[in-house]
């Protein structure tokens, strides 16, 4: 009896994971059909790659926030590392490797590994902290990464690479030289390798890595530390090792998203908008609204919350009005006695259903 239960449960998680993969593939097919039929506005079409970027970021951040239980506010920083590492790589080898797919694959690997390295470097000091303190320090690291990238000048000529943190002139390039990273002006002319198909493939790879990681010995160790650190130590699970592992895998995948992001733009600059605090918060909102620890939820939330503002653009004038009404309604619903009574009733209803199912 118990064995049967276990088998059913196992297939239940597998089934749920297959639904997640299936959802992404079906979404791809539908969008592709609409694209072929020319039924997608250029606005939405331009949004497809960023959408994939957001999904990857949300899924990877869920590994840190939901599975490892650490509130990280510096996720955009790792994305920034991946974006610049990948773009630099592509720009340097643009004329060496003309085969786009190979070059982009290598760029993704380079970007991912660089972000993983930064994940480890940042993780070692940061993961000694807990809760709010960890959130504050990751936030700081995210900003530091962005600001450091903003002052880097990187050039290349026949003598090799030159780096400076002052200006292009101090690079001392020869006549044949070329500036790759131009400080705050970033990288211009990265090959436009990102496509919607690439985005979908990378989403599937990210899902594969994260879902399999969670449902393995390593994932169990990470979640046991999240649930009770002292008990995890008492049964011989190394807290430092698994926390760092989760953090750096999460950072690495953010790097992957960064590479995808960078190869979708003509000019890559590190602005507060794309790699700053705002971006980190946006990703966190995807994770929280999708459900902390819920991978499929992250995917859905990222898609819905990116598309919704675009689709509701017609209501732009009323946005603040609707926002205020929702806010007031929420306050009334959560804190007034009447609202609480309704909540209780809803809760009871669901509980009854759950017990019936069981």
């Amino acid at each position: 009896m118990s064995k049967k239960m276990k088998v059913r449960n196992l297939s239940k998680t597998t089934k749920s994971n297959l639904i997640t993969y299936g959802m992404v593939i079906v979404a791809y097919i539908i969008v592709e059909i609409f694209l072929r039929a020319g039924m997608v506005s250029s606005l939405i079409e331009g949004l497809l790659v960023p959408l994939c970027v957001y999904v990857i970021l949300a899924v990877s951040l869920n590994l840190t926030v939901g599975i490892s239980g650490e509130l990280s506010l510096g996720h955009a920083g790792f994305m920034c590392v991946g974006a610049f590492a990948g773009a630099t790589f592509s720009k340097c080898l643009e004329n060496v490797i003309t085969f786009g797919i190979l070059r982009f694959t290598l760029a993704i690997i380079v970007g991912t590994l660089c972000a993983a390295l930064f994940g480890i470097l940042v993780g070692i000091p940061v993961l000694r902290l807990k809760g709010d303190y960890l959130a504050i320090v990751t936030l700081a690291f995210g900003e530091i990464i962005k600001n450091v990238v903003n002052v880097i000048y990187l050039g290349r000529d026949s003598r090799g690479f030159h780096i400076s943190i002052k200006d292009t002139i101090s690079l001392g390039l020869e006549d044949d030289g070329e500036v790759i990273i131009k400080g705050a002006q970033g990288i211009t002319g990265t090959p436009n390798d990102s496509t919607f198909l690439w985005g979908i493939i990378l989403i599937l790879i990210t899902l594969f890595i994260v879902i399999n990681l969670i449902n393995s010995r390593t994932g169990r160790a990470i979640m046991s530390i999240r649930d009770n650190r002292i008990a995890a130590e008492s049964i011989g699970i190394s807290v430092t090792k698994y926390k760092l592992l989760a953090f750096s895998v999460s950072a690495a995948l953010a790097g992957t998203a960064g590479v995808l992001y960078a190869h979708n733009l003509a000019t890559l600059t590190a602005l507060p908008k794309n790699f700053g605090y705002n971006m980190s918060i946006t990703i966190l909102v995807f994770v929280v609204l999708g459900g902390i620890g819920n991978i499929r939820g992250s995917v859905i939330a990222a898609v819905v919350l990116t598309l919704l503002p675009e689709l509701l653009r017609a209501l732009n004038d009323y946005r603040m009005l609707i926002y205020a009404v929702i806010l007031i309604a929420t306050m009334i619903f959560t804190s007034s006695p009447g609202g609480q009574a309704i909540q209780e009733r809803i809760k009871l209803f669901f509980e009854r259903r759950k017990t019936k199912e069981a």
């Binding site: 594969f208 649930d227 130590e233 008492s234 049964i235």
Partner: protein, 252 residues
């Protein structure tokens, strides 16, 4: 040779001497009790034995190896497992996964094997499932394997904690107030389980307990602690009839 030998163990927190000159010898297969009034330092001794605190003086020998001042995870690998006074389960994990977490170091495979789902992953996970179900069966929890740990009733949570500790295949099992919050029936059942664990796994068990029925029922020897110092030690019946112990702890 004794399985556990503790000599002159002591720890100070600033000016407070929480445990002083503590000696303890437990033989293989023994069921040993550690009792005393609240704040006597019993849990502190558990924390010293499991490496949560580093002792200021003295040493701890386990099965001939010096484990003094080692880290918690190393001490667990040497063969000490414990439960906690306030239950510490992995609440969001299933009952089965709680035990499987305990098997972590005994059925290893790499993270990459797990992500890529290599054949070894399936083989080792199957071993883990079987072993974990065996352990759950011992505690009558096999029907609840898929429940979230936090959804278990209190008594079963205590049992699950013991099952998880046993999953690490320890030589010495430390139980911190296993009967706390249990009703008399549950305590009776727990006593049976503890005795069963000792006989079935040939386990050496050291337990802290306030329930004198449980202590006198299953412990073979006792140490009584008071203000961080040993007040009495020896055979259970002798110790419980010791006038000093009655005055300090049991009451007339």
């Amino acid at each position: 040779m004794a399985l556990l030998e503790v000599k002159n163990l002591g720890i100070s927190f600033g000016g407070l001497r929480a445990v002083d000159d503590f000696n303890l010898t437990i033989e293989q297969g023994e069921l040993y009790g550690l009792i005393g009034p609240n704040g006597a330092g019993k849990t502190t001794i558990f924390n010293l034995l499991t490496g949560v605190y580093k002792p200021t003086d003295g040493y701890i020998m386990l099965d001939g190896e010096n484990i003094t001042g080692k880290k918690t995870i190393e001490i667990n690998r040497h063969g000490v497992a414990r439960t906690f006074q306030n239950i510490r389960l992995f609440n969001e994990l299933t009952v089965l996964d709680n035990v499987k977490a305990g098997l972590h170091n005994h059925h290893p495979y790499s993270t990459l094997t797990g992500i890529l789902r290599l054949p070894k992953y399936y083989r080792v996970e199957k071993e883990m499932n079987e072993r974990a179900m065996e352990l759950l069966k011992v505690f009558g929890l096999e029907q609840e394997a898929d429940y979230k740990a936090s959804n278990l009733p209190y008594g079963q949570q205590r049992k699950l904690e013991i099952a998880r500790a046993l999953a690490t295949d320890p030589k010495l099992l430390l139980l911190d107030e296993p009967a706390a919050g249990m009703n008399p029936n549950e305590t009776q059942e727990l006593m049976k389980t503890i005795r069963f664990v000792r006989d079935e796994f040939h386990m050496t068990i050291l337990l802290i307990e306030h329930d004198m029925k449980l202590v006198s029922g299953i412990c073979e020897r006792l140490t009584v602690l008071n203000f961080g110092q040993v007040l009495a030690e020896g055979e259970t019946t002798e110790v419980l009839n010791d006038p000093k112990v009655i005055a300090a702890y049991l009451g007339e």
